[in-house]
Symmetry: C2
Subunit: 177 residues, 2 copies
């Protein structure tokens, strides 16, 4: 649960970070900025701000904005509607983001996850202009560096409601009260 | 046909316009900027500069850069591999772009197409932060306004080699000599 104030602060932070990297939003888009606390009520630690540009039944594009050290918790995108599930490409626009994906664990990863269930630790570090594609159905989580991050996500069709989180306390819904 | 000099000038112009809107490219991406004269050897009039971020068998994302008044000629994306063909969303980042699509002709359109075969004239004007989605298999062309334009394209999988142009003189291949 987050407060109305936290929601509005996070939306304003997001709009400012996007403006800094030259991304122009319409007024309707500014109002539609999503803030996710993943049900943990610790938005600054585990959370994500999103702006969805388009999400058809074939492709999707979003901007993801993270505060310094903010983490999107470990999850995977399962198959649906006869597709293999969401395939996604993260492209860092500004700041730095550390992706953790399936594969050989990185010996000394740059990030420590927040308390909870995290099982994959192959690190992929992305700075501005760098990108990485995550295959459908595979586990991943990510954390922003000390300056936060703006990350563009290109993908196949997105169904956030189907995301499967490793930590059973985590949910994609955010309650504002 | 374009000269090596025209190609390099167009690549540099593209990199500069992208940098102006805060888009950071890797060195490999700068070298991979595509310049298309559509076989007409009149690049400033009929042409397009492109950077492909990613093109999987499910989705694609590109930046399109147009010089002032430059036109991408009329074409459509046909069905392939059991899909309805490429569906695409144009989002204007900077400058102004005029899309012409199927539907009721706009009485006094803002642009005049270059000499050639142009049959659709429903105008959709996009400024920074505005976007429009074009259904698969439908005719469209576009022209930049007086300041040129940077346009991000989100889409399903892209197969430029299959594009069907209204003007039979037009081709997607560009010869550099």
């Amino acid at each position: 649960m987050i407060s109305r104030r936290e929601l509005e602060d996070a939306q304003q932070y997001t709009a400012e970070r996007l403006a800094e990297v030259g991304i122009v939003l319409t007024a309707a888009e500014q109002d539609a900025i999503e803030v996710a606390d993943f049900g943990l009520s610790e938005l600054g630690e585990t959370g994500l701000q999103l702006l969805v540009y388009v999400n058809t039944d074939r492709y999707c594009a979003k901007e993801l904005v993270l505060r310094p050290g903010q983490t999107c918790p470990e999850h995977r995108h399962p198959p649906f509607d006869g597709t293999p599930g969401k395939e996604e490409t993260f492209r860092c626009r500004s700041g730095r983001v550390y992706l953790y994906v399936e594969g050989e664990p990185t010996p000394q990863p740059s990030c420590v996850p927040p308390p909870g269930a995290y099982t994959v630790s192959r690190e992929v570090e992305l700075g501005p202009g760098e990108q990485h594609t995550i295959p459908p159905g595979t586990l991943h989580w990510f954390q922003a560096g000390a300056e936060g991050a703006v990350v563009t996500e290109f993908s196949s069709a997105s169904r956030d409601d189907l995301d499967e989180f490793t930590d059973e306390r985590v949910a994609r819904t955010t309650v504002v009260a």
